[in-house]
């Protein structure tokens, strides 16, 4: 799960506890200093260079767009890639005299997410205004939850592979500081050639959940794994589709380094990270940069930096210099958000008007961690396998369908699904849904193998043929290519004898 999410090529250049064997990919600073993470993010003593060890500290601020029909405070629709400024209500455009009205679905999404992350849900939470001027913020302020957010003090468990092998996984936890509801801003496109900025307010006012992860992580891999797990959770809950490419999940990383026993160092904020793979890269680059800087006698500025994916490095962001005072003020047009549970629910309240936390809790779907446990238990597969199954959309379902339709043991099926099927899909950048080989076809093939009508090698050949998607059944292919296993002893003897005879003649 995590290993694959991190991107294989990059990981090869960065090995735990060892210095780089050759030139590092990307503009990593020379003389890689040793940084390693043990179970709780502590440092490992330096290697040959003999310098004092560094402890990197990574925290994350994640913005997840809530999956809802309409925006957080207005009735306009939420839709990706609609014509510019076609989904903007009067309120979204900040027309004077308009007022926010809270969207129930968004609150439910936040409660679900909070429960899934083991948070305490605040039965009373408040809304605030965060003021700053920017073209994509029509009201001159964002409505957010700064004082009392909807959920606090949770945790997220995620797993990593150790030593590049899929066989050993370690579970880590990161504390969730809080989850808050807030508005998304619009989008601005800077057109430097015509010296103008184009503003699209379709996204302005869309509901966001900001999930704040405490600085319990220590490297890019951990950050990536944590985000990946969060993504899976959100997708399972349905509270956010969490597709990073569509901007539904945005991650900012807070990075600092310090020596063990000393106070935390100055941190920088890294933005503009567009994928989980880049997240790991950006974090690791920034850690290295800071270490280099400090070891050369420099200082770290408390600044915001952007990740440049082309160059693989972080650069200072010009327009965020100096500390901003957001002049927080309570949002006077929204009364405190009151949530109920079974105990506190008033008897005569209109069901439409209240949200019952317990009711939501009862209806939470199985979270990824639970699903994985069930897969392991039910099919006898390894934990790593369960991670891999859940890591790919639709793969677990595919696997289960194959298992249902074949007599082959699930433990054997898993290899075919994870190795053969998945690698083929990856090679051709296909999703499980787009697979030319259906679970039915694969099950059919595996049945032939199970019945010993074909060999393992033959099966792979048949599979290769099935990929072409020509509509042939495995049996047809076997017959065509004469791949059947010969069971007849006599026939085998004859063939062997013929081969031996031929050899003797040469």
């Amino acid at each position: 799960m995590a290993a694959r999410g991190c991107g294989g090529a990059w990981r090869r250049g960065w090995q735990r506890g060892r210095t780089l064997p050759g030139p590092a990919p990307g503009p990593f600073p020379r003389g890689q200093r040793v940084v390693a993470c043990n179970a709780r993010g502590g440092a490992v003593p330096a290697g040959k260079s003999g310098l004092a060890p560094w402890v990197p500290v990574v925290g994350l601020e994640i913005h997840a767009q809530i999956s809802s029909n309409s925006k957080l405070f207005s009735g306009s629709q939420v839709q990706f890639a609609a014509p510019p400024n076609s989904l903007v209500s009067f309120f979204d455009a900040s027309l004077p005299g308009t007022l926010p009205v809270l969207n129930r679905r968004c609150v439910e999404a936040a409660v679900m997410t909070g429960l899934a992350l083991n948070c305490s849900i605040n039965k009373k939470s408040l809304f605030d205004r965060k003021h700053y001027f920017y073209a994509d913020l029509p009201a001159g302020y964002q409505i957010t939850q700064q004082r009392v957010p909807i959920a606090v003090n949770g945790s997220l468990s995620y797993s990593l592979c150790i030593d590049n092998k899929m066989s050993q996984m370690v579970t880590k936890t990161v504390r969730i500081k809080q989850i808050q509801l807030e508005q998304d801003s619009g989008k601005s496109l800077h057109d430097d050639t015509r010296s103008q900025t184009l503003v699209d307010l379709n996204r302005a006012g869309v509901g966001l959940m900001e999930v704040v992860m405490e600085p319990d992580m220590c490297c890019g891999e951990e950050a990536a794994a944590a985000v990946r797990e969060l993504q899976l959770i959100l997708q399972t809950l349905g509270s956010s589709q969490a597709v990073m490419a569509e901007g539904q999940l945005r991650v900012d990383a807070n990075v600092s380094v310090h020596h063990p026993g000393e106070p935390y160092g100055v941190r920088t904020e890294v933005k503009n990270i567009n994928s989980i793979r880049f997240l790991a890269k950006a974090v690791d680059y920034e850690i290295q940069r800071q270490i280099e800087e400090l070891e050369n006698g420099g200082t770290i500025l408390n600044e915001t930096r952007a990740f440049d994916s082309k160059l693989g490095c972080t650069v200072p962001m010009r327009d965020k210099e100096g500390k901003q005072d957001y002049r927080f003020m309570p949002e006077p047009n929204l009364p405190p958000l009151i949530l109920y549970d079974a105990k506190s629910l008033p008897a005569n309240m209109n069901h439409q008007q209240v949200i019952n936390i317990d009711w939501i809790h009862e209806r939470l779907p199985d979270l990824p961690s639970v699903k994985r446990e069930k897969l392991v238990e039910q099919y006898g597969i390894l934990p790593e396998h369960s991670f891999a199954l859940l890591n790919e959309d639709g793969l677990a379902e595919f696997y289960e369908n194959v298992v249902k339709q074949t007599r082959m043991k699930p433990k054997r099926v898993i290899g075919w699904v994870l190795n053969d099927l998945l690698s083929y899909l990856k090679q051709h950048s296909l999703t499980v849904k787009e697979s030319p080989v259906s679970s039915f076809l694969l099950a059919d093939l595996l049945n032939l193998l199970e019945k010993k009508e074909i060999s393992s090698t033959a099966a792979k050949q048949v599979l290769a043929e099935l990929w072409k998607g020509e509509g042939k059944t495995p049996l047809e292919i076997v017959k065509e290519q004469k791949l059947q296993l010969l069971q007849d002893q006599k026939e085998l003897e004859q063939i062997c004898q013929a081969v031996i005879d031929r050899q003797e003649n040469e």
């Binding site: 003021h131 001027f133 009201a139 001159g140 002049r327 047009n333």
Partner: protein, 516 residues
């Protein structure tokens, strides 16, 4: 009365509308209106007439000409807030209260003048110029005013309306409409009502929707109602009050419109006289009037007690902090990007914002924005904003305690004196004037309580003096019942205006005040 007249056919909505429109034209010098929606008003009147012909009027308000303060959004009609920032801005939607009036068949004559963005207590600081108090031209005032020299004409001696809903108050006072909407944040409906001799009602916060009212202080603003008599105010209140899903600060409970009983027995009533309202600068006249009113109640058998609202003296400062903070926030949206004035400056987004705001806002608005931002700075937030919120709670609690002790309604002055001549008024700046004038009205906004100005008597200079009643939260019925009784007792004289006399129609002639 006029509603009955419409029903009986003694007058038609079209006639009424045309009369009012022509009166507006002949009283143009009052500068009460910014925009006159002649075409649409006539259309509305026509539709109303149809309904009356069919015997199916929508209600008491059907066909009644009304005016609305220019900080309420009106679809298709310019909404300016008397500011350059919104000059030419045509709203795409109606404020809920406007929609409600229209749904009842009311005829919207136009948008009235105000202080820019409702900041002020004189209706003198808008970009369309100051509003003149109709009483400046009344027989009563002219008789009492001593001309200083022959060359001095009446033009230079006119008095202000008070503010910031001065245009609405003047419109009602000069008979150009039968009811008007104002807004009240620190007294902006009651203050001009007192100066213009009309009834000004500030309802309980949360009773009437603010959706579409361009906000000054979201936590204190309410739509205000200006009419010529208390009964009318009750009727308008009945058509406006109630939960609005578009405004999350309105109460959920159902509101039942009520008819005001004609109280005869006040012996069960307890009237509170808060001693702190004997404010510095209170004129001897008003003090005497206040005392007389208290006696009136006492002699009629009511229990009149002196009470104390000890934190009254802090309310102005507290208001200043909270108001400016909210203003700074609410005005942040005016950047010229989506609507309103946009400066030609285009070197950068920021310079465009800055220029737009400098060009669009007057000094008063800009001053409040700067103060507000100061109070909201991280290092100041606790010291000022949070402190002010705490003081606000104390002020509100003062009222709670007093009402809990058995007092039904408080009786106080509304203003410090009668209307000042414009020339005098502008000698001090807006902030000073607001601080002086808001003191009697402003605490009711802090506490969210309903309050009403009832015109009581004429001053020595022949100008209106009003007194204020403050009631319990959501107890408008009780408040208005008491106000109505009082109104009947004092029999405030009708304004005698040349212009109105010329409109020889029984609707405009009556002994007391006009009523629906």
């Amino acid at each position: 009365q006029v509603s009955a007249a419409l029903k009986e056919g003694r007058v038609t909505p079209m006639e009424l509308c045309q009369q009012c429109l022509s009166l507006i034209k002949s009283t143009k010098f009052l500068n009460a209106y910014i925009t006159i929606a002649e075409e649409t008003a006539l259309k509305q009147a026509e539709a109303s007439e149809e309904r009356y012909k069919r015997g199916q009027p929508l209600g008491v308000l059907d066909g009644i000409p009304v005016a609305v303060k220019d900080n309420f959004n009106t679809a298709g009609i310019e909404t300016t807030c008397a500011s350059n920032m919104l000059r030419g801005y045509i709203s795409p939607y109606n404020a809920t209260v406007v929609q409600k009036l229209l749904d009842q068949g009311a005829v919207l004559l136009g948008k009235t003048n105000l202080d820019e963005f409702a900041m002020g207590s004189g209706s003198t600081d808008g970009v369309f110029g100051p509003v003149r108090n109709p009483w400046s031209y009344s027989k009563q005032y002219k008789e009492k005013s001593v001309p200083k020299s022959h060359s001095e004409d009446k033009e230079s001696n006119w008095v202000i309306t008070g503010g910031s809903s001065g245009g609405s108050a003047a419109a009602v006072s000069s008979f150009t409409c039968f009811a008007a909407l104002g807004s009240d944040t620190g007294g902006s409906t009651r203050n001009p009502a007192a100066h213009c001799g009309v009834v000004g009602l500030k309802p309980t916060y949360g009773l009437i929707s603010r959706h579409g009212l361009i906000p000054l202080v979201n936590s204190m603003d309410v739509p205000g109602i200006l009419t010529r008599c208390v009964d009318d105010a009750a009727v308008v209140l009945g058509s406006l009050a109630g939960h609005d899903p578009k405004d999350s600060t309105t109460i959920q409970d159902n509101f039942k419109p009520f008819e005001l009983p004609s109280l005869t027995d006040v012996s069960k009533l307890s009237i509170g006289i808060p001693k702190e309202y004997h404010a510095p600068g209170l004129s001897g006249e008003i003090l005497a009037l206040w005392s007389k009113a208290a006696d009136l109640f006492r002699n009629a058998g009511a229990k009149v007690v002196e009470v104390s609202l000890p934190h009254t003296c802090y309310s102005i400062v507290c208001y200043h902090v909270l108001c400016t903070a909210e203003v700074a926030s609410n005005m942040a949206r005016f950047d010229g990007l989506e609507y309103g004035h946009r400066s030609d400056m285009n070197e950068s987004t920021e310079s465009m914002y800055a220029a737009t705001r400098r060009e669009g806002f007057n000094d008063v608005v800009r001053g409040r924005i700067l103060s507000g931002n100061y109070f909201l700075l991280k290092q100041n937030y606790e010291k000022y904003f949070v402190k002010a919120q705490k003081v606000r709670r104390l002020i509100a609690n003062d009222f709670v305690k007093v009402f809990q002790s058995g007092v039904d309604v408080l009786l106080t002055p509304t203003t410090l004196s009668d209307a000042a001549p414009y020339k005098e008024f502008i000698k001090e700046d807006n902030r000073t004037r607001s601080a002086q004038n808001d003191i009697l009205t402003q605490a009711a906004n802090m506490a969210g309580l309903p309050a009403i100005n009832v015109p009581t008597a004429l001053s020595e200079r022949g100008l209106p003096l009003g007194l204020q009643f403050i009631g319990r939260s959501f107890q408008e019925q009780q408040l208005l019942t008491v106000a109505k009784w009082f109104e009947k007792q004092v029999q405030f004289p009708m304004i005698q205006l040349e212009e109105v006399k010329r409109h020889d129609h029984d609707v405009f002639q009556h002994e007391k005040s006009a009523s629906f």
